[in-house]
Subunit: 228 residues, 4 copies
DNA sequence: CATGAATGAGCATTCATTCAT
DNA sequence: GATGAATGAATGCTCATTCAT
């Protein structure tokens, strides 16, 4: 990666002293990206600082320079995956859609995001095994409130008002249920495939699951009857 | 746990107690129990053979004597937690209940089991991070077919026939959805608590979730309308 | 090996109580044979008691029962290979041959024995690395005087008297030289093969070496001149 | 040995001495020297990485840093002893001597080198027990062709041409014989001493053997007769 | 900032040996 | 005697982290 190229070792005029041969920001980003990948595939304990540095193409010392410790790097990696999903969530604009369609998009989004970000799931799993210790430590993470839950709440209310959603569900439980039907499929894809003897990571199974998830969630939300 | 059971010192007065109750089966069980706990709380890579042996109250070498390697012990630990849930599943007798009630019990069971067995979730998570590698290796695990899915299928069919369940869902997707709404709540309890700023592991939150889960699932299963 | 067969567990009359289900002598022999092989191929430190017992088809405990320790077994193994060569040496009857022919046979014997007993060389090498520690410990080994050296001495004297051997060599130095030209070829066969890029363990190389060895030794022994 | 050399503390007054002289080359050399000694006296399997590092006065991890594994260190140790003898051999200049004298020097050299380098013998022995496995692996070792054999061949040819050596011996066999009469004396010094009840490692025995070795070899090389 | 060297604590695993049955 | 269980002291090797340049 960030190779040693970058020419000009001793340029006659070192105008900008702050920016030397390497780009600190790029190095940092490379480390975080490598960390996310390594922590996701090996877990915190299984991940190796050496390999993260090597994968990022930087010296191991930089890890300690920038992040103090393996733990520190893990924290930033965690923040980075959270930041990314929050950013994606921001882009959802549902207020103009009618409740049913908006809800479908929310369900679809939570499915699609997980489908494309297995590292998010892996990091979450490790974080939960350690009782969310890092989450509690990070102030930044605390502040990254999810707009998703608010959109969901707004959409839910609109739908209830419009009579297309049943009023029994609170937003948090609904969120967990909607996320859960997608999350479990991805988080446990391998064990489920083994148990059912069916390749649930195949393209077909994925698309089929996506349809089911939306249908299942929407149906659960439907009001009891269209009482006359 | 630490096999302190083992009643009956045989002779009422044993002047010099044998240093250790020589009981291979107990030692093995103690190791497995300790392994389940350690692997669940630290993950495979984070778990320490030393600590497992210490927790089991046996010599570390016995791990290798009985299980060949840390990996071997992990495999048996995994099998043991699977065996336990399969055993519990066997005890469910739903054929005499009417479909709706049977389905409620299935949903409740999948919630209650996870509530009481956080180590099951933790081991599953680690296993999925490694792409179910151990699951694939173990023949015993392959043979531990879940009766749950069959019960679910039978119940689903009965309910569809009786007109109380919609016919659109296949059993596998339904299973994943039902399991998912419970699983995600427990597997991600800590991160969810942090995000929502709400103690989701509190007794009240648990009971409330349980009610929601059943209601959500049952509702999703309801047929489209009671068309006249 | 020494299988569990051996029938008749509870014969009505256990006349000979000393000989039970197994044959202690056979077990001991099997252990020694296995030990010779294992120690020869792995060295003392590299040899594994477990594997020796397994190869002998007996329980590991027997090693300690019969030989006290790994070291004890090694000692007996060493004695056994010495005993074997001494026994073979005993069978040489050279007094009736004329000195030259007798000497040729001595040289040939020392070559042939080594050719057929690589384990002897291997054990000697390990023993010498540890400064012959075991040799010094064993009284039995001390007593196993080699008849070879005496035969050599007698033959040498006869030849000198007959004018066919030069008188300058003492028997011990001669013995070492004769043994050395064969021993080095076998003991260092692999490194020599590597250095010379030639398979010195091939049948042809062996026969050629045998001829050379005899010729070289006999020639060295020839008196200075047939001075008139 | 323990790299205490390293003169020059540069600045005359260094208030706080650096904890350890940071000198990779010295550390490496110290490790190799310690490895040669340890492997020679204990064999590969008996040698302890801990003790090698301790003897070299460096951290154990450096073994793995520089040599990857115990095996890797062993290989380098082996290469180092080979390199040393090759270097010594290079210094022999025999072309100007007459064949007989040159041959005497060759024989004497092969005796003297072994006399002074018991570790060479010990490492060779272990290497041969493992069928020269390491020798085959090392490219560097393959390339360290011995000039000795070529000198021997040249000297032999010159002597044959001059009529002072018999023409029957090929250089390889001759090399093995010459090396063998010295090697065996040293390699098996302890067992020979035990068998003969004579301290063959004593100064006197050594000198006497040296004389014998030269005489024996030269005599073996003499042509059949000074035929008139 | 960058780099290789160095450290120390720890980790899975091995092994000769002993114990209990 | 025979067997599996058990032990404790290692043993080769790893890893996060720090140092020196």
């Amino acid at each position: 990666m960030t190779a040693t190229s970058s020419t000009s070792p001793k340029s006659p005029a070192r105008t900008v002293a702050t920016k030397r041969e390497r780009d600190p920001v790029a190095a940092k980003q490379a480390l975080i990206a490598a960390a996310v990948a390594e922590f996701a595939s090996k877990g915190f304990a299984g991940a190796r600082v050496d390999e993260i540095a090597a994968a990022a193409g930087v010296n191991k010392q930089l890890v300690y320079h920038y992040f103090d410790s393996k733990q520190g790097l893990y924290l930033v990696a965690l923040e980075s995956v959270y930041a990314e999903i929050r950013e994606k969530e921001q882009k959802l604009t549902l207020n103009e859609l009618e409740p049913l369609e908006a809800m479908k998009q929310l369900v679809a989004f939570s499915f699609d995001y997980l489908a494309e970000h297995p590292e998010f799931i892996a990091l979450l799993a490790d974080e939960n095994r350690s009782h969310g210790a890092n989450l509690h430590e990070s102030e930044r993470l605390q502040k990254m409130h999810s707009p998703f839950i608010e959109m969901l709440e707004a959409t839910l209310e609109r739908g209830v008002a419009a009579g297309v959603f049943r009023p029994d569900f609170d937003a948090i439980n609904l969120y967990i249920s909607i996320a859960g039907i997608s999350y479990f499929f991805f988080s446990n894809n391998h064990t489920l495939s083994a148990i059912f003897g069916k390749a649930l990571d195949a393209r077909g199974a994925l698309l089929q699951r996506r349809r089911h998830v939306i249908e299942f969630a929407i149906n659960a939300l439907r009001p009891d009857k269209d009482v006359a």
